[in-house]
C-alpha cells in the first residue's frame, strides 16, 4: 500500500499519516535511546581516563604519590576500613556519627529557619526589629564559630550539631522569609474572603506557598550541615569522618584523606537522593515541568 503513488487528493493523506508518524516516532525513540547510551558511555570513559591517568602518573612518579596518592591505594584504604575498621572503630560507626550530627543540626537549623522566616515574613514589626541583626549575623563567616563550639560544648556531637545549625539556619531562614513575603496576594485575599483567620492564612496559604522556596534551600543546606559536622569533627572529635580525615592527615596518609572524601561524597549523594524523593512526594500538586530532568 505504501508503494502506491500518492494521489493529489488530500483526503487520502490522513490515512497515510499515522503510519509515517509511527515510523518516525520509533526512529526518534531509537535515537533518544542511543543518545542516552552514548552519554553514559562517555561518562564512564571520562572517569576511567582520569583515574587511569592519575594512577599511571603516580606510579611513574610524574606526580608525587606521597602527596597525591593513587586510585588503587585509595580503593585499598576503603576496602581496609570496611573490612577491618578504622583506628577509631568501624567505618559504619564513623559514617553514622557524622550523619547523625549533620542530620540533627540540619533538623534544628531547618525548623528554626522556617519558623523564624515565616514569622518575620508575616509580622512586619518583627522583621523591622530583627532584620538588621540577622543581616549582621549572616555577614559573619560562621564556620569560624566551629572552634568556639568545641570549647563550649566539648568534643562530643553537641559541638558539631551546633556548627551544622548555624550553617543551615541562614539559607533556610532567608528562603522561608522570601517565600512568605512573595505569597500570591490573590491567594491571601481569596482565603480572607472565604473566612480564613490570620492564623489560618499563615498555616494554610503562606506555609504551603513558601514550601517550594524552602525546599530549594533544603538541598543546599543539607550540604552545609555535612560541612558543619565535618569541620567540627576535623577540629576536635572522638568519632566521625572528619576525624578520619584529620587522623589520616596526621599520619601522612594521603590515601586516607581521599578515601574519607569518597565516603563523604557517597553519603552526601544518598542524602540528596532521599531529599529529592521526599520533595517529589510532597509536591504532587505542582505541574510537572517537562524541561526538568534529574
Amino acid at each position: 500500500m505504501s508503494h502506491e503513488p500518492i494521489p493529489a487528493d488530500s483526503a487520502v493523506a490522513p490515512m497515510a499519516a499515522p503510519k509515517r508518524a509511527t515510523g518516525r516516532t520509533e526512529a526518534r525513540a531509537r535515537a533518544a535511546r542511543h543518545r542516552k547510551l552514548l552519554v553514559l558511555a562517555a561518562r564512564v570513559l571520562l572517569l576511567a581516563v582520569v583515574l587511569a591517568a592519575w594512577e599511571l602518573m603516580a606510579r611513574h612518579k610524574v606526580i608525587d604519590p606521597f602527596n597525591f596518592s593513587m586510585p588503587s591505594k585509595i580503593w585499598d584504604q576503603i576496602v581496609q576500613w570496611t573490612a577491618h575498621g578504622t583506628a577509631q572503630g568501624s567505618l559504619g560507626e564513623q559514617i553514622w556519627y557524622t550523619l547523625y550530627e549533620a542530620l540533627f543540626g540540619w533538623i534544628i537549623g531547618v525548623t528554626g529557619g522556617v519558623a523564624l522566616g515565616i514569622a518575620l515574613g508575616r509580622v512586619r514589626f518583627l522583621a523591622d526589629v530583627l532584620g538588621p541583626y540577622i543581616k549582621i549575623l549572616n555577614a559573619l563567616p560562621r564556620i569560624v564559630l566551629a572552634p568556639i563550639f568545641v570549647i563550649w560544648f566539648g568534643l562530643g556531637p553537641a559541638s558539631k550539631v551546633a556548627s551544622a545549625v548555624v550553617l543551615v539556619f541562614f539559607p533556610v531562614f532567608f528562603n522561608a522569609f522570601q517565600g512568605a513575603r512573595e505569597v500570591d496576594r490573590n491567594l491571601v485575599a481569596n482565603a480572607r474572603i472565604l473566612g480564613a483567620s490570620n492564623r489560618r492564612v499563615t498555616l494554610q496559604v503562606v506555609v504551603p506557598s513558601a514550601t517550594s522556596w524552602i525546599f530549594t534551600s533544603l538541598h543546599v543546606s543539607f550540604g552545609f550541615a555535612l560541612i558543619g559536622a565535618i569541620v567540627g569533627e576535623y577540629i576536635g572529635a572522638t568519632k566521625g569522618i572528619g576525624l578520619l580525615v584529620s587522623a589520616s592527615q596526621g599520619t601522612f596518609n594521603s590515601a586516607g584523606v581521599y578515601a574519607a572524601m569518597v565516603v563523604l561524597a557517597v553519603v552526601a549523594l544518598v542524602a540528596e537522593g532521599l531529599l529529592t524523593f521526599a520533595e517529589r512526594r510532597l509536591f504532587r500538586w505542582k505541574a510537572v515541568d517537562p524541561g526538568a530532568g534529574g
Binding site: 500570591d184 481569596n190 482565603a191 474572603i193 483567620s197 494554610q204 504551603p208
Partner: protein, 288 residues
C-alpha cells in the same frame, strides 16, 4: 462572629428597605512605594439593590477593582462610607463572595478541597462542608474532577472551581473582578451563561445575590447586567448609569444580536468611549 454564614435572613428582607450595597462619597488613596499618593477612586456614589446585577465598566486600570475591594472589606475607604445592607463595612463579611480576575484557587489543594475551603474556614463540620462542596461541583459540572489538582484543569475549569468555591458560601453579595477576562472568547460566553444560571436572578420573588461585576468588555456587561455603570478615566468615579431592560432569562450568545442590545451598546459606548480615549491619550503620554 461566624454564625452569619448559615443565616438566611438577608434574603428574607423585603426589597427596597436598605439597598444591598451603598457607596457614599467613597475615595481610596494609595501610597506608592516612592511615597507619592495615588488616588484610585474619588468621590464614588453607587447603589446596588437587592438581587440586582450591576456591571461596572470603565477604561483599563481606572480603579474599578478598587471599588470591589472597598465593598469586600479587604480595603477601607480613605474617605466616605461603604454600606452593606445599611451597615458600614468594617471588615470581611461572611455574606460576601469574591471572584478574582487571576487564578486564586489554592494550587496545593484538590478541586474538592478548594471548594470546601470556605465552609471549613468558617467552622462548618467536615462532612457537611464536603456534601455542600460536592453539590456545587456537580452544579458547575466538575463532579468528575473532585480529586484533581488545579494545574490539571483548563483555565475555564479552574474558573468553575472558583465559582463553586464562592457560591458554596451562599453569598448574598457577589463581587466579580473581570472573572472571565483570562478565558478565550467561546469559553467566556459559555461561562457567562453558566454564571447567569447559577445566580438565578431576575425572577419575581427570587432570593438571588446582588452582584457587582467589573469588566472592561461592554458586550459582556450589557448581556449580563440589569444596570451598567460607566466609570470615568482614573481616578474612578461614576460617570453615568444605564438601565438594561432586556428580558431574562438571557442567552449571551444570542442576545447580542438583538436590535435593542445594539441600541443600548451604542448609547453606552458613546459615554464609555470618551473615557477610554482619555485613558489612551494619558497612556501615550506616559509611554512618550
Amino acid at each position: 462572629m461566624n454564625s452569619g454564614t448559615l443565616d438566611t435572613t438577608h434574603s428574607g428582607t423585603p426589597p427596597g428597605r436598605n439597598p444591598a450595597i451603598e457607596l457614599r462619597g467613597a475615595s481610596k488613596v494609595f501610597r506608592t512605594p516612592s511615597g507619592a499618593e495615588h488616588t484610585a477612586v474619588r468621590d464614588l456614589d453607587l447603589t446596588v439593590g437587592r438581587g440586582e446585577f450591576v456591571a461596572v465598566v470603565g477604561p483599563t486600570g481606572c480603579g474599578k477593582s478598587t471599588t470591589l475591594t472597598l465593598v469586600s472589606g479587604l480595603e477601607e475607604p480613605t474617605e466616605g462610607e461603604v454600606l452593606i445592607g445599611g451597615d458600614p463595612v468594617t471588615g470581611i463579611r461572611p455574606e460576601v463572595g469574591f471572584v478574582f480576575q487571576q487564578d486564586a484557587v489554592f494550587p496545593w489543594r484538590t478541586v474538592l478541597s478548594n471548594v470546601m475551603a470556605g465552609p471549613r474556614f468558617r467552622g462548618v463540620p467536615k462532612a457537611e462542608a464536603r456534601e455542600r462542596a460536592l453539590d456545587w461541583l456537580g452544579r458547575v459540572g466538575l463532579a468528575a474532577f473532585a480529586d484533581r489538582y488545579p494545574h490539571q484543569l483548563s483555565g475555564g475549569q479552574r474558573k468553575r472551581v472558583a465559582l463553586a468555591q464562592t457560591f458554596v458560601g451562599d453569598p448574598s453579595i457577589l463581587l466579580m473582578d473581570e472573572p472571565f477576562s483570562a478565558l478565550d472568547v467561546q469559553t467566556r460566553a459559555l461561562m457567562s451563561d453558566e454564571l447567569l444560571e447559577l445566580w438565578g436572578g431576575g425572577q419575581p420573588g427570587g432570593t438571588a445575590a446582588s452582584v457587582v461585576f467589573v469588566t472592561h468588555d461592554l458586550e459582556e456587561a450589557i448581556a449580563l447586567a440589569d444596570k451598567v455603570v460607566v466609570m470615568t478615566a482614573g481616578p474612578a468615579t461614576v460617570k453615568e448609569v444605564f438601565p438594561v431592560r432586556l428580558p431574562r432569562p438571557r442567552k449571551v450568545e444570542s442576545i447580542r444580536l438583538e436590535a435593542e442590545f445594539v441600541e443600548i451598546y451604542r448609547e453606552i459606548w458613546s459615554s464609555l468611549g470618551e473615557e477610554v480615549r482619555i485613558t489612551r491619550e494619558r497612556g501615550a503620554d506616559r509611554v512618550a
